[in-house]
Amino acid sequence: MLTAPVLALVLTCLASLVLFAALGKPAGAALHALLLKPFLSWYSFSEVLLKMAPLLLIAQGLAIGFRANVFNIGAEGQFIVGALCASALPVYFPDGDFPLMLPAMIAFGALGGTVYALIAAALRTRFGASEILVTLMLALIAVQILNYLLLGPWKDPRGFNFPQTVMFPDNAMLPILFDGTRTNISLIFALLASVFAYLMMQHHFRGYQLRTAGLAPRAALYAGFSAPRMVWLGLGLGGLAAGIAGASEVAGPLGQLQRSVTSGYGYAAIIVAYVGGLNPLGIIGSSFLISVIYIGGDSATVSAGLPVAAVEVFQGLLLFFYLMTFTLIRFRIEIDRKVPA
């Protein structure tokens, strides 16, 4: 099970080495920074864990849908809407005088993300509209909603005209997990989601239904598993996870709603889900790996002069090689020399 991702990682490293060297960058130093630096200090390792929380959470939600052939590509949008809904409370109660502020924010975020994803489920089950394109379009619309709020009604009046909201009050912030770091309890949410995903997908009948719907849609149909229900469930759980992740982002490292909330976690989580083999345990590993690369990428900009985009190149190559090795390992190639009539 580990062969494909490990092989993909090795190939990705080799390809990046060649690429960086061809661009005249110190390739060895770049790879060292990308893959090893994050482990060399407790603080940078804690940053890896901070990054890992949203990626892991979103990817677990998405993978459930992907296994049922429900392709939610717009987790980024559900993430943004989750962040927006959660931010509404501290924006309108900036003094923090709202009972149970933090739990309410997480609940708002979860609800927002879920509802936003379910729009696609409704259009798919009612009209047959492709959820791939609908979720993608909704994600692009979410960015515009975010821009509108940050430039207009939600802009911090004392924020020197920056597109951001007020800083959140203390009771709107997630508790820190380890003193002296930014790692917060959203990592616990993500790990709990992983346990839930594992139990549901591997040990519960609903997971069996979802997997069957993905592997053999006709068999699922004959067995009487409701196809619309799989769509609702696949999209809803993906949106739920992304919404909670979005809420955790504003209530965690950001501490306010700002444009950088659209940092692409929703898209990166798709890569995480696939490289993790759509398997709840595998996704824990892949989210850790991708987070290491994010943090390593930051230090590579300093130590090896790489642009931040090197992280994207690495992610893209990783998914490319994973998809390739995955099939080549599973299947044996036979060249059929007979030309079909």
Partner: protein, 291 residues
């Protein structure tokens, strides 16, 4: 220049990257595939074209290099989807992310440099027509060539045997294969064509429309092009019309001012996506199948 004149002069150029990328993707989707990597293929095309024009001064070379590079990235998609039958959604995203990353990796050191764009061509008589002459009808060579190319593509898809074969491959690959059409080859060529068109679209964006390169300069135009294919219901003429419409919308704030509309620009920027969702709902009611 008044708002209306600005729109008349600017719309075609603003629409062009959308049009080229969307027509390429339309052909890909007509053969039954879906490549979500447009944004990345446009980005790498834009970077390569800029670098090439900066060093050689030749737009022709720039466009050619961009088309080649984006075709190469599209071939990576083909290897995954046609070659090893990987999931096309994941494959499209993989090359999309890769293209975006590579564009920044190559282009970073060219940021804030400038090159010359292409001159607008004065066509005798046409350019003398009042109002639209000096605006709508005074365009660069790429615009005129693209209009010709669009007509040519329409002709190939609707009036030739090749067009029929492409449609057959997309609608029923097994049937097409069983009567001897080279399904794999047709799809491979379509994906390559889609890549090349994205490369040209990116090249136009970075060397003609705004002759400079900046990280993230494609700014979602790949996604709009993807939406455009659906909006145009896979028909050349409608895609071209949609490109003009989305092009006007992409001029967003300026358009709003020109029309005296008091809407926030974000509403206008969201319109292509909203309309596409609406379009998906309307056409999906009549069609079965995923896309």
């Amino acid at each position: 220049m008044s708002g209306l004149e600005f729109l008349l002069a600017g719309t075609l150029a603003a629409s062009l990257p959308l049009l080229l990328a969307a027509l390429g993707e339309m052909v890909v989707e007509k053969t039954g595939l879906l490549n979500l990597g447009l944004e990345g293929m446009m980005a790498i095309g834009a970077a390569i074209a800029f670098i090439c024009v900066y060093h050689t001064g030749s737009h022709l070379l720039g466009f050619a290099a961009a088309a080649l590079m984006s075709t190469f990235v599209a071939m990576l998609f083909a290897i995954l989807v046609i070659g090893v039958k990987a999931n096309e959604v994941a494959a499209g995203l993989a090359i999309g992310v890769l293209g975006l990353g590579l564009s920044a990796l190559f282009g970073k050191s060219y940021e804030s440099l400038t090159i010359k764009g292409l001159p607008k061509i004065d066509i005798p008589i046409l350019s003398d027509i009042p109002v639209i002459g000096p605006t709508l009808l005074t365009q660069d060579i790429v615009v005129w060539l693209s209009i010709l190319g669009t007509v040519a593509l329409w002709w190939v898809l609707n009036r030739t045997k090749l067009g029929l074969i492409i449609a057959a491959v997309g609608e029923n690959a097994d049937a097409a294969r069983s009567i001897g059409y080279p399904v794999v080859m047709i799809r491979l060529i379509a994906v390559a064509f889609g890549g090349a068109m994205c490369g040209l679209a990116g090249a136009y964006a970075s060397t003609v429309y705004t002759p400079l390169w900046a990280d993230g300069m494609i700014a979602g135009r790949g996604w709009i092009a993807l939406a455009l294919v659906v909006f145009g219901t896979w028909q050349t003429g409608r895609v071209a019309f949609g490109a003009l419409l989305f092009g006007i919308l992409s001029l967003g704030e300026l358009t709003a001012q020109a029309m005296g509309v008091g809407l926030p620009s974000q509403v206008l920027s969201s319109l292509p996506y909203l309309v596409t969702i609406l379009m998906l709902v309307v056409i999906s009611r009549r069609r079965s199948g995923l896309i």
